[in-house]
């Protein structure tokens, strides 16, 4: 089931800052990571996306060195780090609730790593001041973390690892502790900051919108495996598995029969496939069209409709199953009402995906 697109294989060369090679991790008899492979290029932001319990945090903790995988290798700049103790890895972690030291001031928090490296006080002060500047917190160095807002705390947590110039930045659900209103703006800010500094980052989340905003590429995880690694648009348009299609965005599935490399769609169009026999076909709601009346072969009854801004979401029951359609709102006179017979069509068969049943 694991598919790493061949096109991405070239990134698994020495150019990759971080390479995760066939990593497996078990806790007792439970396998939490199975054969995970992933390469991250210099300056790239990759998101590990999946529901809770899919192993994304475990993978992050393995990269950080808090846990070690039983099998596989984690290479940073080509060097296997599995034997490297946690405090020697060139990896900076931004924790879910930031884990700022409450007994140290903001400046002392940021200077902590430099102090542990035994740097002279004057250099620590200079680098802390620069880091505060980078995250726009100048003037707040003397405060304690409890005196800061959630967003400010997050920036201290980032500055605390940035100041050590790690090769890889790991962010474990950094927006979880923030209220929903702040998140959107903070996501854009954080992405821009990481890009400006040219950092290589791995970002863990269960929130697909966050993943779509933050990432250059998304690795969708399920039950300890990486299902697909691809840029956000590709994940959305060409989900490699039915699971990815279902997890990212909304989707319609129906059963069909593949014969001689083709699948006939309910509206009469057809689609090529490498599968034969019974298959599942997937289309996004915005790739379906809806016409009032009985105009074609794919007819159904309108169950429910609601306006979502300029778009209308329709729920239609058909012989192939219940479908969701997203389409532009029509002039009031030509807008169907609930209970009407409607005709569905696939706008671009190329954007449908065919999966094993």
């Amino acid at each position: 089931m694991m598919q790493v697109p061949v096109a991405k294989a070239e990134q698994a060369t020495s150019a990759a800052v971080l390479r995760i090679a066939a990593v497996s991790k078990r806790f007792g008899s439970m396998t939490v990571l199975q054969d995970c492979s992933l390469s991250v290029a210099e300056g790239e932001i990759v998101t590990l996306l999946g529901p809770s319990g899919c192993g994304k945090t475990t993978l992050l903790r393995c990269i950080a060195g808090f846990w070690n995988p039983e099998e596989g290798a984690i290479l940073i700049d080509g060097q296997d780090t599995v034997q490297t103790p946690v405090n020697r890895r060139p990896v900076g972690v931004v924790f879910q609730s930031y884990a700022l030291f409450p007994h140290l001031t903001v400046a002392e928090n940021i200077g902590y790593g430099l102090r542990m490296r035994g740097l002279p006080k004057t250099e620590i002060a200079a680098r802390v001041a620069a880091a505060l500047e980078t995250v726009s917190l100048s003037g707040l160095g003397g405060r304690y973390p409890a005196q800061l807002s959630g967003g400010q705390q997050q920036r201290v947590a980032i500055a605390r690892v940035l100041v050590l110039e790690p090769r890889v930045l790991l962010l474990d659900e950094p927006f979880n502790a923030l209220d929903a209103k702040l998140r959107g703006a903070m996501q854009v800010d954080l992405r821009q900051l990481i890009k400006r500094l040219g950092m290589t980052a791995i970002f863990v989340t269960h929130d697909q919108e966050e993943a779509l905003t933050m990432s250059d590429r998304i690795a969708v995880m399920r039950a300890g495996r990486i299902e697909q690694v691809a840029p956000p648009e590709e994940i959305f348009d060409r989900p490699a598995t039915a699971y990815v299609a279902d997890f990212i965005g909304s989707s319609n599935f129906w059963q069909a029969e593949a014969q001689a490399g083709r699948v006939i769609l309910p509206d009469g169009q057809d689609l090529s496939t490498s599968l034969t026999g019974p298959v599942r076909v997937m289309s996004r709601p915005h790739n379906l069209s809806l016409q009032p009346g009985a105009l074609g072969p794919w007819q159904g009854r309108l169950l429910f409709q609601r306006s979502v801004g300029a778009l209308v979401e329709y729920h239609v029951t058909t012989d192939s199953g219940d479908m969701r359609v997203m389409a532009m709102r029509r002039p009031a006179a030509r807008q169907p009402v609930e209970g009407d017979t409607v005709t569905l069509g696939v706008i671009d068969p190329g954007l449908c995906a065919v999966y094993e049943p």
């Binding site: 950080a64 405090n87 990896v91 030291f101 409450p102 409890a146 005196q147 050590l164």
Partner: protein
């Protein structure tokens, strides 16, 4: 809660007042919820103590069982402060208490650290082993030390069996025996506040510390130790107070000739029936204890000033 208040109020002849008092006691603001405890302590501790203290500062003339005259005097206090016996006794008490406190901290902190890094079963075991001694009274435990450390006790028998010594060591009735007993009796009081704090400790702070390049020792020194300062302060204050004013351990393990502040007061009041002397000694004991507690509180508050700005 409201229902029971209403019911109480309905039965009371002055519903308004009782309800108002109940409301104050339960509202949790100011000192109101502590009022019952304050009243109880005033009756059983503060008033008797004031009466006791007044004995130390009054010159009482008695004739045939009745008081004929009573006047204020500082003679007892001045006599006590100019008596070298008092100074050596209080100094002995202070040294014993400070040594006990330091030893309890030195022995107790590693246990708390083990609790912090331990798994579920380690934590349970530490908790049980810490609390178990508290289930027997201090007197019983002190007698147990007599059995262990005595002339024909476990320690001496074992040492003689191994041929390390020819005749029993004299341990009981020495300073060492008192110190061993004191540390054992008071160790749980040091450990409990420490592990209560460790149980609440956010383990991610340690991970963050390691991730930032700190070693285990560096993390202990720069993160765990400063963050446990409030519990160290509590444990230190408790152990110091208990061991500075202790009576049972020095009395039993010191064999009746180990004089500390509490045993001296006991002798003054029970044997010599000099209540005025005993009263003044008790005052000195309490005052010197408060001085040390204040120093501990000041040091703790200085180290934990980061907790103050929480809501700023």
């Amino acid at each position: 809660m409201t229902a029971s208040c209403t019911r109480l109020a309905a039965r009371s002849p002055t519903p308004g007042l009782l309800e108002a008092v109940a409301d104050k006691l339960l509202s949790g603001r100011g000192i109101w919820p502590a009022v019952p405890a304050i009243i109880a302590l005033t009756v059983v501790a503060v008033i008797p103590f004031i009466i006791l203290l007044s004995l130390g500062f009054s010159q009482i003339e008695m004739e045939r069982g009745t008081i004929v005259s009573q006047s204020f005097t500082l003679d007892y206090l001045i006599n006590a402060l100019s008596d070298p016996l008092y100074w050596t006794t209080f100094q002995r008490s202070m040294t014993l208490a400070l040594t006990t406190t330091v030893l309890c901290l030195v022995l107790g902190y590693p246990v708390a650290y083990l609790y912090l890094i331990g798994g579920r079963w380690t934590r349970r075991a530490i908790l049980i082993l810490t609390i178990a001694p508290l289930l027997t009274s201090g007197i019983v435990r002190t007698y147990a030390w007599l059995v262990i450390l005595g002339g024909r006790g476990v320690v001496n028998t074992a040492l003689m069996q191994m041929g390390l010594i020819d005749r029993p060591l004299r341990i009981v009735n020495t300073h060492v025996a008192v110190l061993i007993g004191m540390v054992q009796i008071h160790l749980p009081v040091m450990i409990l506040p420490l592990i209560a704090l460790m149980a609440r400790q956010d383990r991610r702070l340690e991970e963050a510390s390691y991730n930032l390049g700190a070693s285990r020792l560096g993390t202990l020194w720069h993160v765990i130790l400063p963050m446990s300062a409030p519990a160290i302060g509590t444990g230190t204050a408790l152990v110091f107070t208990l061991s500075y004013t202790t009576f049972v351990v020095p009395q039993l393990l010191g064999g009746g000739n180990y004089l500390n502040a509490a045993t001296m007061i006991y002798e003054q009041v029970v044997y010599s029936l000099e209540w005025s002397k005993g009263s003044v000694s008790a005052l000195i004991l309490m005052a010197s204890c408060l001085v040390v507690l204040t120093l501990i509180a000041m040091a703790t508050s200085r180290i934990t000033r980061w907790t103050k700005g929480r809501d700023a």
